[in-house]
Symmetry: C2
Subunit: 235 residues, 2 copies
């Protein structure tokens, strides 16, 4: 069984003085998080769409989704954890308690603030996660990436042709991710903040799915203007 896990945990500190985390800002007629959830809600492969957000926003999010989505028992809102991975673990715990976990339980994790994800990207993540265990959605790096150890001068410029920018979704065999996560030391947990990195560090292949340039993450006010422009022209 396959589950969508929408991480809406960000407090949005990079958005400037906003009263609400950025996933609740409207673009066109709907909050960003609603645009995102809809992409998974309409996909019949998902048994549930689990949204995880900060405790104080759980009720608000529930009301919002009730307002914009048809009545259903497919979408639910849970409290997130203190880190991205703890948030994902909360979703796995819920799945385990309600449906149980087996080797074919797939979670497709996604940022609430990436509303432009396509059906093609979602489907390829599900398929590849079943086959390979873990996936990451990426696009070839367009900018030159430079590395700096001291934050002032460049220490190295890696070969761009080998580099990709990570987007989401990331999809995983939930049982395997849980086992790998609970095998980590506290120190490892601090470092391996990206679930794909856990697989990668533990020697598992993470299969790459072709992302799309416009599958943007709305992080800065700038992105919000871009998102509005994209919606104007594309939807």
């Amino acid at each position: 069984m396959t589950y969508a896990v929408i991480a809406a945990g960000g407090i949005g500190s990079r958005m400037g003085n906003m009263e609400k985390p950025k996933q609740y800002l409207k673009i066109k007629d709907k909050p960003i998080i609603v645009h995102t959830v809809e992409k998974f809600f309409v996909n019949s492969k998902f048994r549930k769409v689990i949204i995880l957000c900060p405790d104080q926003w759980v009720n608000y999010t529930k009301e919002l989704l009730a307002k914009y989505l048809p009545e259903n028992d497919k979408v639910l809102v849970l409290k997130g954890g203190s880190t991205r991975n703890e948030t994902i673990m909360n979703s796995i715990r819920y799945i385990e308690e309600t449906d149980g976990l087996d080797d074919e339980t797939i979670i497709v994790t996604h940022d609430a603030v990436r509303p432009f994800v396509s059906a093609r990207i979602i489907d390829e993540n599900i398929e590849a996660a079943l086959k390979y265990g873990a996936t990451d959605t990426v696009v070839p790096a367009t900018d030159t990436i430079v590395e700096s150890q001291n934050g002032e001068t460049i220490s190295s410029i890696p070969d761009r042709s080998k580099l990709y920018q990570g987007q989401t979704p990331q999809a995983f065999k939930a049982k395997l991710l849980k086992e790998l996560y609970y095998s980590l030391t506290e120190e490892e947990k601090d470092i391996l903040t990206d679930a794909c990195k856990i697989f990668s560090m533990k020697g598992y292949d993470v299969h790459m799915i072709d992302g799309e340039v416009h599958n943007i993450k709305i992080t800065y006010p700038y992105d919000l203007r871009v998102a509005k422009a994209l919606l104007d022209e594309e939807l």
Copy 2:
């Protein structure tokens, strides 16, 4: 003396079926390259603004700049080289022949397709190049960067806090860059396609200048829509 070197050599293959390289597309009332050149033209620190473009576009570019800029002898158009670095060398050759090169000859190289560069970024590049010899304009990496050796699975996920996305300008002491470039083997020239990488590989510090999120490079049709939206709201 300080020179702006605007590289307009791209043939724009990533823009889809366009009749013109992307630097000639209009956003709002003017071609992108005109927006870019203006940022340097108005800055009194530059003795000349040298635009380098493919041979077959030299005359067109000259006519375009004559049409949009006031009559002047500050802006000139030259033929670019077969690579980015060869293009830069053409500009250094011109400077050497007309004014001579000394240790304080600074070139501020910039992409023709980054029209949103700010005066602050340009000024900091000039200042730091004089002081340190080489600069690169960067922003902290917002996306997770992943590395793949085979293009299918992730080989490593470097620590994002040490990574930056390179923009332009890049500024250099022209005499030093020339010396370093002509000390390279043909094989090194093939690898060191970024002039900053030449300094870095030869053991020179490249000083980082804080870029800006909206100092975007117009590479894809998507970027062109973004650029139009930015101009609508900001200029």
